[in-house]
Symmetry: C2
Subunit: 358 residues, 2 copies
């Protein structure tokens, strides 16, 4: 059996410089299952901004597993159960599972982990969708509940960085609730295809940042719409334009600063605060999820999985990075990490990378 495991030597914001891939053949001591353990084979694992923060040493939850003495990063993903320990009754070979909490280490082909650290999901679910249930669908779903008042059918949501995975899922969840979306995308070469792709997901209106910045554009776009929620992943001027689109009593929620946070700000005016009664706040997934008990979190992921299986949600568009054992794998993996960390430095339009194990 061939197994591959990614580890990192030290903290760095340039993950490709500190990560290394270990490739081994044959049995290992990890294959000796304790009674409560399960042995899993990964199917897909995304590279999330959070993972890069872990490698950079800027995330509070540390990796729980090590290989060759070094921590294994990757906190999200989906795996298939290969074997189970003698005392494991809730999981069986062939089951598909996702990590229950942060820290599991998903950037590896195989792992032996305690059964309670895993949560079962449907085995017929597309692995890419499954790997994004928690950090792709979770934030999207919970962001839509973050307004000062609940969204009602016919309400509009405006969001930027709209080609991102969270935004792609938000557009779809909004539609499921009978709500409409205005998707703001950054100016780029492939505006037409981005527009088409978002419309195919159910986006009602797609505009570029510069279209929205044109004189009168905000007013004419807002006219006649109840725009009750702005979901801002960019901050600065882009966030300011989202806030300007909002109807009275709406909520502006920030959940990222792709436009750069240092020195940027949004001017809070009495027009926004008093006259329009807009509430301004931030969203953190960990905080929002902490309002859900563990059984509720399981049901939440199960609900997402059902929607994918029914065809009510489409798997978001991502870049699949083929994880295939062999001499080229380290180069492929490190390149993906490099690209992903570049993405957080604002390479407009770069898609989320997901390791797809073969």
């Amino acid at each position: 059996m061939s197994r591959q495991t990614l580890t990192f030597r030290q903290h760095s914001s340039e993950p490709a410089k500190v990560a290394r891939l270990h490739q081994e053949n044959g049995q290992s001591h990890e294959d000796q299952l304790g009674p409560e353990d399960v042995h899993i084979r990964f199917l897909a694992a995304p590279i999330n901004p959070q993972d890069l923060m872990v490698v950079a040493g800027k995330y509070p939850v540390q990796p729980e597993h090590r290989h060759a003495g070094e921590p294994i990063p990757g906190y999200d993903g989906v795996a298939r159960i290969e074997r189970v320990g003698s005392a494991v009754s809730v999981l069986a070979p062939g089951n598909h599972v996702v990590p229950r909490a942060h820290g599991l280490g998903t950037w590896r082909s195989h792992a032996t982990v305690p059964a309670p650290s895993l949560l079962r999901v449907s085995a017929t679910l597309d692995p890419i969708a499954a790997s994004l249930l928690k950090m792709g669908c979770g934030p999207a779903y919970l962001l839509l509940n973050s307004g000062a008042r609940e969204l009602r059918p016919g309400d509009w949501v405006v969001l930027n960085a709209a080609t991102g995975v969270i935004a792609q899922m938000t557009i779809q969840f909004a539609k499921l609730r009978g709500c409409h979306t205005i998707s703001v995308i950054r100016d780029r070469d492939d505006v037409d295809s981005a527009r088409q792709q978002l419309r195919a997901l159910g986006a009602d209106t797609v505009v570029t940042e510069s279209e929205l910045a044109a004189p009168g554009a905000v007013a004419s776009l807002a006219e006649g719409k109840r725009i009750k929620l702005a979901l801002d992943a960019v901050f600065g001027e882009s966030g300011e334009r989202l806030a300007a689109l909002l109807s009275p009593g709406a909520t502006y929620v920030n959940y990222g600063s792709l436009g750069g946070a240092v020195g940027a700000s949004i001017p809070l005016t009495q027009e926004l605060l008093f006259w329009k009664q807009i509430t301004f706040k931030n969203f953190r997934l960990s905080q929002a999820l902490s309002q859900y008990s563990e059984p509720e979190q399981e049901d939440l992921l199960g609900y997402f999985a059902d929607l994918f299986e029914k065809g009510s949600l489409q798997t978001p568009a991502v870049d699949r990075v083929a994880w295939e054992a062999g001499p080229r794998l380290e180069e492929v993996v490190l390149q993906a990490l490099d690209d992903a960390s570049g993405q957080s430095k604002r390479c407009v339009g770069a898609r989320k990378k997901v390791f797809h194990f073969s």
Copy 2:
């Protein structure tokens, strides 16, 4: 019997120019009670910013009563029942009452109004306190509930314009909940006496705007405190300093713009939004009260009245304007209106004026 009634000819932001006082002796047709009516004599009626907005034509609820064909302003106050109509059973002569809703017209010595437009309060309550139950105590109490999380004993609240009636009540309500307050007052001639007066109400820390603006003052004042709520009645730089004092997870609430709203703004940074997770919002009394059913509103005012009577709340410091029938009354009343409308134009330290009927 002598009766006096204030009316206004037309809308104006200079109330003294459009208001006039009618003084009459003897009976009037208003003394003829319908079966559901009561005849009342006012004891005290404050001049609230809202009243000035009514006169200026900038408030949505219009006066319900007229005299000599002109609307009677004044929406807050307390009165004693003199006589009741044949079908009135819930009120009796000697009862003290406050208006149930906006629009009653309280700037007059006597009135005949439908019994259901009044709400009974304790007759032993200080009339100044009674006249401030709704628009003085109401906002103060409800502002303390406007945070993203409930205030807990030991939490701190920071507020500016702290010599205002709402702030004086907020300081006291905070103390009743086991919370501490930082009161920010504007720079003025009588800083020492203002400080003393607020401390006598239970204020923990009183600082002037310029003390707080000094380098390092915000950090040293915030140190070691859970400052969970900022109540900003000034906006602009003063509001910005309040927000800077807040602890993680706190809420900034704006409920006024004494510093001027036009052109002013508070820069919303990622430091405040993401790192400190501060929520920014506005407070409107009508909106907050609408969450209370009518019986709940009655119980709320009754609760305030009880606290005053028990000595748990002190009547806030106000300027009593003696309303005494006679040739000088019109001058006194118009002067008070002029001063009060000047107060809203930032005459620092001017106290709320309350008509005190004799």
